[in-house]
Symmetry: D2
Subunit: 336 residues, 4 copies
């Protein structure tokens, strides 16, 4: 804090301030000249600056927080690279994660996954436990879905990422998935964040559609505090007044995170736009902005998908995306 | 759904549509004249209207959902009245819930609660488990806090409401609290919603600061589906671009909910505004708009509060609020 | 500004900062102790603090702006009362402004206005020049509408307020209207603000649906700078993600403005909600929150109105509103 | 409109609906079977569907608007290409518009413009009349600024774009500028839109930071209706809760406009982000998403700029941007 005393502040009024500082256990330093007095204290997290504002003859109180510690770029500016099998997330090569929104059946899962494998995808996304706004919507296959993911891995060698909704499911997830996904609506679920923070599996953390950049990084901090250093941040659109897309992709957050944090950032254009026809241009934009990868919803017959059918792209659109994304990746000095 | 066929639609194109309808198991009805054909189907929750839009010669598809069933006002228009001890929430008399944001110590809790009891409050709010954006902020006393609430009840006869963050804590909460509180960040925590839906305790459900009215009612529907009919809805402000308050109180939602649902609605002006000096006028506005009660953060020395100190009102401000609220309540035909 | 130098700052680095301050013509004051140096400068409007941030060994730069001068409450805390005929806006008595959205015909205008006169309304709102999003919508009667307003005044003794869209129409408006209305979409139209700032007519300034509180007060400042002290601020809802109302009424701004400014504040629940059935409860809330008046759209057959038909209340609803508003006004120590 | 009658509707209730349709002068068509009646009417712009909803036994009324006519892609899918001197906006080659936010002096304007000319820029942006939120901020050089632009053109052969705030300044602007700029705060200034709609100069229309896609296209429609076909749309960020950037760039609007309209779209990353360090990655993203060009604020000493100094990039940053943008343009099949 910087506490600026009024010019008319008397000795006892300055003393008042110093007594409160001492009561709160803070170190401080006083600066004076013939007219003014300013008191600097050490940075402090939970001190309420209003406490000081209400003391007599205190003119301004300015708080200077250094909020997150582990998420921030460290001094030697190293970026975190996350190894998942033979894939490195956060390095020069971009990571493409793709697959259906929900696992609907073995047939559907394998059909989509095998096509994607053929197109070069190594990590399949597929939801077993689904968050749905309406209790009357399809809620996912649950543990049955996890089993299908396990079969997929064994039969194809693909890796998988799937969303965990409850920290009590963690042991079951850890047996199957290669990356744990925390969904946007759970970005603030602290018990879940703490639980995956103690897991040995990498975590993909989606930004809540109403989270500020700071809140997003704080949620990552909760995970890192548990010892899990392998966190991938994922932008998936924010809620705004704009109504022609499902959400509004906040593209600037990609370079903004890169400036602040050592963690890799990927973009999910499917949830950001909610519109199949916008996925490709927005994906290219994400790569150009510096994203370390993409997460895309793909379905062989989107119109029949059990969930998010308006935003899943078709298999052949995915191949088109890959071809175009390679060129943009190269244009910004990356590989895909 | 209403499916309007193009004027040029041929017999086989209409057949196509009907086959898909039958495949999906929907009842339907055809309307025709010399120029046009329109097909009406029964209402259906999870059918994807895009499926039909892509068929040849389909001009428009209009979906008519009736989304929530249990939350909606029933035919005889009865409003839900929730009995908690000798308090009725949702009746003619307004309910005043007040207390500190966090339980900090026995002394703090009792001091505030006893003052409020004296002022006529019968239900004390006080957080034991706290959601905090930063992992470095005070996270609440946890189970120790629940114990203090139990002591408070035993020694004073007051009732208590406290926020539950994890459904695995439910048995412990049920031993102590009179109302379970679901916080704004957990409005989408389906496991938690389902768990409290099976509890015998009333539930106060806070609107997420980024939830639409429809999403808010859907979350309540999750609880009602479990059999728990005693849900109190709580508006606490939404996140907007406006920056002079912590959130923006969406005052219109009070009458808008009343028009749609039988559930009682209360307002939390503390989180909505985040500013002590705005609490009283906004509280009066909530009552005038038809709220069934208020939930207010109160502290004997807000500047020293461990959390939310800028929005807690002082004990004497609370008494002032009560006096003024009584008059406004009377002006709109209610009692406090 | 407060400029805090790094502990390692050398004499010449401090000199650098002082030279820039002097170049910019600012007075300053230096505070020092054995470890730190802090430089305070006089408040300054257009100085770019980044200029200082980029100098070597400057640790923090804090700007302390006092932005608006004329809009702010003056030292003796007097509130502005605006006389319009025998009405005083901003005093103890609330002001009710009502009328149709658009003037459609003499018959329509007189029919509504005479009913409202009978119900005690003294100031009629009615649009002659209409802003419409679509160029294909009804754009108002224009000058013909102003003539009808003039006839209305002459025949009934009522006063009128109407929106001006272009500063070149000011002379024609000044001949007719008692209050000039600046619409939400013109809150940033500086030429218009400057023009009405030189008028002798009071001005009702609507908040843009995307304006912060600060921007709203700055627009009022533009008017006051021209010499026109009679500005009425009008909250009419902001644009948010919430979708069950046309806009979201920001009710807290009523007391927030009262805390900062001496100008009267009224609320327009018609545009804020866009829903006929929400007007009455929201109007009562506005009064309870401390508004100095209301501006309400009324129509004898809203379904046939040329514009804003979903938000106009019926004549009999208006009378119901008046009766209920009187009671709430009294409950908060005001009169209607 | 599609009007669906209730199953119990009697002959006279259907007649009621038809009479109203006829009164409104609409063509219609009736569809019936043994159970239901549906009435289809011709599309209609200003008919109030509520009018029908309130009639007895009307179950649903669905409106199907085709809102804008001139802005929409025409049947043969041609895109508008706008010729400004030897530059074509909207073709395969991207257009780079750059320059200072405000004209501060001849020296400043020429220094920046000559550097940019050297870097291949052909159209210079520079504000003579500035919109400023605070009346105490620098408001631009006004007509003196226009004169400097004229000198710049004569001495360098560069073309210029500058913002017009008031339609009465149009003759003076037409003497100087090659493209008229309508700023975000004037997107709803209908008199200004109509005036430039009758000009022979191309118009760059910025999206208001609170405009939906539909409102943005409607404002362009106002211009096209006047006969001016040469409209360039410019996305420059929308106002959201997100607070680490000045606005939130709505990147998806680029392909979304391309799907709907034949008009070229450019992106202004300077206002969208408000942060110098985000300009380059966001510019590359805009090109990858399909933008037809960029408009960038550049200054030789941004820290000393009179306005928008935090978002202007340095001259050498601009050259870096050009080099990188060329590669991304090529990757998406365009040229720069």
């Amino acid at each position: 804090m910087i506490i600026v005393m009024n010019k008319d502040a008397q000795h006892n009024e300055i003393e008042n301030v110093l007594m409160l500082i001492q009561k709160l256990g803070l170190e401080f330093s006083i600066l004076k000249n013939e007219n003014n007095t300013v008191i600097l204290t050490q940075p402090s997290y939970d001190i309420n600056s209003e406490l000081f504002k209400s003391l007599p003859k205190v003119e301004y109180v300015v708080t200077l927080n250094e909020d997150y510690k582990l998420v921030y770029k460290n001094i030697n500016n190293l970026e975190t690279k996350i190894k998942v099998g033979d894939v490195v997330i956060g390095g020069n090569e971009l990571t493409m994660i793709a697959g259906p929104c929900s696992i609907e059946s073995k047939d559907q899962l394998f059909r989509i996954a095998l096509h994607l494998k053929n197109s070069g995808v190594k990590i399949i996304r597929a939801g077993a436990f689904k968050f749905r706004t309406s209790p009357y919507s399809f809620q996912g296959l649950g543990y049955k879905g996890l089993e299908l993911l396990k079969e997929l891995k064994e039969e194809t060698g693909l890796m998988v990422i799937s969303e965990i909704l409850d920290h009590h499911d963690l042991p079951e997830f850890e047996k199957v998935v290669d990356i744990l996904q925390i969904g946007a609506r759970n970005m603030h679920n602290i018990n879940l964040l703490k639980a995956v923070g103690e897991s040995s599996k990498p975590v993909l953390l989606k930004r809540s559609y109403s989270a500020t950049l700071k809140e997003f990084l704080f949620s990552a901090e909760y995970i890192l505090m548990g010892g899990n250093k392998n966190v991938i941040l994922c932008e998936r659109g924010i809620r705004t007044f704009s109504d022609y897309t499902r959400n509004t992709l906040d593209i600037s957050i990609v370079p903004a995170i890169k400036q602040r944090s050592h963690l890799p950032v990927i973009v999910d254009p499917s949830h950001a736009t909610g519109k199949r026809d916008l996925i490709i241009p927005v994906s290219l934009a994400a790569i150009a902005a510096g994203a370390d990868g993409l997460m895309i919803e793909v379905h062989h017959t989107p119109e029949l998908a059990y969930s998010d059918s308006e935003q899943a792209i078709r298999l052949e659109q995915f191949d088109d995306l890959i071809n175009r994304a390679k060129k943009v990746a190269e244009a910004v000095g990356r590989k895909l």
